[in-house]
């Protein structure tokens, strides 16, 4: 039986080696793996994919879409932007393909066709260490609601490139989840505290302790034996030590050993089945694996019918449990040993009173009083150590009254009182605020894209940013802090609009507030640029209280859908801002190339001199012309098209000309602030120090998903 066990043990070892050597990476479905490794939630690719035709497949994730294709049906992108309402689309180009008036691509390059409705940007990902470069073309729709990333399939040809793309996609995934709102949180939530814990020294020390304890439990016996009896080492002893190393306390029972071998062998087989055919990076994979194990939700996976996951992760937990049980005896032994030593050995009171008791008492008191910069982690350690020393002294029947001489007692008490009073004064009466400097990017990610939400604390400023060249406008909440084409930035409330500077932007968190701001100060409107995108029409009637205004529109007849034509009108009634939505009628298609539709606007609204009108229910690309007619048909109604863009915040922009200064108008009750330099960190620190922004703020750009840190 003993020989059988030894034989099975060797077979087990050979099996492990054989199976491990068979694990190699393949290149099928690389892109899907990249998506998965980037953190986009894709529960099950096959069940969530939509087949448009035999060669096109759209893979759904929560809010984003991915396509891998050889040829696409016509108007695929209009389908994407209009009907599917996805925010992000990754397009991997495997062969020659042209999307009309957007781009031409092949498996190794993308050619931009200068589209009108999309803004083109090129993202260059550079791995200088390995001399690799990946170029991704991105197209953001003018109104900012959707972004298409075009990636040639050659970008996935080696692991370095794959890692670059994975890092970039991962940053996009994180940026897409950033919300505009920054609730003014005075107390941190549990999840924020947990985030802090994950970055704390405590966790680092805890990991070190866990690794050490495990290491000690596995190799402790071997080390102790080799240190004391290395001269007596022979094959049998070495084998027993190895057996003990692998099986732990199970090595004493042959049935337990057999059970352990079979469980582990089965796990290895399961693991090799489960392991993705492609492993971009071992570290990424291991990290992902650990995260998956920690985040595994049995009931969630069961409800989604993901039996593969359920079996693999449940079995992983079982194996971890088995290994822990195999070492449990040793752990108990170690704890017993420690307690017996603590009991057995006594402490030298004279030495301990100067090096531990006095400093600990002083520090504890200092930290309790000093709760403005409360380092509770440190206090916790001192407190636990104090408790330990206290227990030791109690066990040794030490009397504090006798331990310290009168002179020492007076010194301790007076220093405690002086320290506490000093701290109290500093905390309550000192005018000087001391700032702590930290890095603006608080995440370990290689690439960070915008928008980026920063959560920090009171009295924290930021160190200078890395060398990465930023060539796009940069905002912090509503404030413009950098623009590559200008050197001075004024941030003002829209009520202080001054037409001396024709280069300006109007920024707002919500669409409605932006419209309200523009309508309350109509001087802002005249210089606004108009391009394709979400349109607003500012209508300026020649006189008040008109009885009838007619909207006349000519529609392009390539628009086939029958739809209800609606308008939303924003206006001021006295000082109160109102909006009303009206159904004007149905668009039923047309007979000739162009069809004219005439609608009467409601009387109660057109009684206002100025109003903003938004067309709903029709894609503006199909509107050939639009005009307003009064009852007399002679007076001319002036109106101006305004393009409202939305990349995180809503904004409108004047036609920007080369100059030194640009003004950013915001529609909120924030204070005005100006910057005379292009130093991003300095301007951000001014906002933070002077409390223009809170402890949580968003850094964003009107160009979507731009790389902020790399």
């Amino acid at each position: 039986m003993k020989n059988l066990l030894k034989a099975s043990f060797f077979i087990f070892l050979i099996g492990v080696l054989f199976l491990t050597s068979g694990a190699k990476s393949g290149d099928t479905e690389v892109f899907l793996k990249v998506i998965n490794n980037s953190g986009f939630k894709t529960d099950n690719f096959t069940s969530n994919s939509i087949n448009f035709d035999s060669t096109t497949r759209l893979i759904k994730t929560n809010k984003n879409a991915f396509v891998e294709t050889y040829s696409l049906p016509n108007s695929f992108f209009s389908k994407f932007t209009q009907e599917l309402e996805y925010k992000i689309l990754f397009f991997v180009c495997n062969s020659d393909y042209e999307e009309a008036s957007l781009f031409k691509c092949s498996n190794n390059k993308v050619e931009n066709l200068n589209p009108k409705n999309f803004r083109y940007e090129q993202v260059v990902l550079d791995d200088a260490k390995n001399d690799e470069k990946v170029i991704i073309s991105s197209y953001t729709s003018n109104e900012g609601s959707s972004t298409i990333f075009v990636i040639p399939s050659s970008s996935f040809e080696n692991n370095f490139k794959i890692n670059l793309i994975t890092d970039y996609l991962s940053s996009i995934n994180k940026s897409s989840k950033v919300s505009v709102d920054n609730p003014n949180i005075t107390e941190k939530t549990f999840s924020q505290n947990l985030d802090d814990y994950l970055k704390s020294t405590s966790l680092e020390l805890f990991i070190y302790s866990i690794v050490t304890i495990f290491f000690a439990l596995f190799v402790g016996k071997i080390i102790i034996y080799l240190r004391n009896n290395y001269k007596n080492l022979n094959f049998n002893i070495a084998f027993n030590l190895l057996e003990d190393f692998i099986f732990g306390s199970f090595s004493k029972n042959r049935y337990l050993k057999l059970f352990f071998i079979s469980s582990i062998t089965f796990y290895i087989i399961l693991f090799l089945q489960f392991i993705p055919s492609y492993i971009g990076s071992k570290t990424v994979f291991l990290k992902q694996m650990v995260l998956n194990i920690l985040e595994f939700n049995l009931f969630g996976e069961l409800s989604k019918w993901n039996y593969d996951n359920v079996i693999f992760y449940s079995y992983t937990y079982f194996i971890i449990f088995l290994i822990l049980v195999s070492r449990f005896d040793y752990l108990v032994e170690v704890i017993k040993n420690l307690f017996s030593k603590v009991k057995e050995y006594s402490v030298n009171q004279e030495a301990i009173k100067y090096t531990f008791i006095i400093p600990n008492i002083l520090t504890t008191l200092l930290f309790i009083s000093f709760n403005k910069f409360f380092s509770f982690e440190f206090l916790l350690y001192i407190l636990l150590f104090n408790l330990f020393i206290g227990i030791l002294l109690y066990k040794q029947k030490t009397d504090l009254f006798i331990l310290f001489s009168l002179r020492e007692k007076i010194i301790i008490v007076s220093s405690v009182i002086i320290l506490s009073l000093g701290v109290f004064y500093y905390q309550n009466f000192s005018l000087r605020t001391s700032y702590k400097f930290e890095n603006l990017i608080g995440v370990p990610d290689k690439i960070v894209s915008l928008p980026y939400k920063k959560q920090t604390s009171e009295n924290v400023l930021f160190n200078n940013l890395s060398e990465y060249k930023i060539n796009y406008p940069l905002f912090v909440d509503e404030f413009l802090i950098y623009h590559p084409n200008y050197s001075k930035y004024s941030n003002k409330n829209i009520s202080k609009f001054d037409d001396s500077n024709s280069n300006y932007l109007v920024v707002s968190k919500t669409y409605e507030r932006l419209v309200r701001g523009l309508l309350s100060n109509t001087d802002t409107i005249k210089n606004l640029e108009s391009s394709s995108g979400q349109k607003l029409f500012f209508v300026n009637l020649p006189e008040d209280n008109l009885s009838q205004v007619t909207l006349i529109t000519d529609l392009n007849c390539s628009y086939k859908t029958t739809n209800t034509f609606k308008v939303k009108i924003y206006y001021f009634e006295g000082t109160s801002f109102k909006n009303t939505e009206f159904i004007l009628g149905n668009i039923l298609g047309c007979n000739s190339e162009s069809q004219r539709y005439t609608f009467k606007l409601p009387v109660e609204v057109v009684s206002q001199n100025n109003f903003m009108l938004e067309l709903l229910g029709i894609d503006l690309r199909f509107v050939n012309s639009l005009k307003f007619e009064l009852e007399d048909k002679e007076s001319i109604v002036n109106f101006k098209e305004i393009t409202v863009k939305n990349n995180f915040y809503y904004y409108v922009s004047s036609t920007l000309n080369p100059d030194t200064e640009i003004t950013n108008y915001f529609v909120s009750d924030k204070k005005d602030v100006s910057f005379d330099n292009s130093n991003i960190t300095e301007n951000l620190n001014t906002l933070k120090r002077d409390k223009f922004i809170g402890n949580t703020f968003n850094i964003w750009s009107n160009y979507s998903y731009r790389i902020f840190s790399y």
Binding site: Y345, N348, T355, F374, L387
Partner: protein, 126 residues
């Protein structure tokens, strides 16, 4: 905030009392436990439920520190060498994160070995 001040004042009063008035050992130790647990409670109140995780973590770290402090001095240095030897292997396999952990542990064991060499005989009487 005020709770912190109250605890500070209470701690000072306790300190003055136990230093200048001869009290029975049980009362001194009992009041010490009450003051310590009040401060712990204060931390729990200030930080919320996460403090329990911090507390358990600190307890485990303290246990590991004592384990190393009370064990034979040779093992601290042996562990330091072992962790140091393993570090380049992880670097070779591009497991930089793991290598960093092992290197840090190697350094910590060297420090612990040094601390033990300097302090152990001064503090512990067997």
């Amino acid at each position: 905030m005020y709770l912190g001040y109250i605890l500070s004042i209470l701690s000072i009063i306790w300190l003055v009392t136990v230093l200048f008035v001869r009290l029975p050992r049980n009362i001194v130790f009992g009041s010490f436990l009450i003051i310590s647990s009040s401060i712990l409670g204060f931390i729990f109140y200030k930080i919320g439920p996460i403090s329990i995780i911090y507390f358990l973590t600190s307890l485990f770290i303290l246990f590991c520190f004592l384990l190393s402090f009370y064990s034979n001095r040779v093992y601290n240095y042996l562990f330091a060498i072992l962790f140091l030897i393993l570090t380049p292997f992880f670097l070779k396999f591009k497991l930089d994160d793991v290598a960093e952990i092992f290197a840090s542990i190697a350094f910590l064991f060297l420090v612990l070995g040094f601390v033990k060499d300097v302090l152990y005989e001064k503090f512990i009487k067997s």
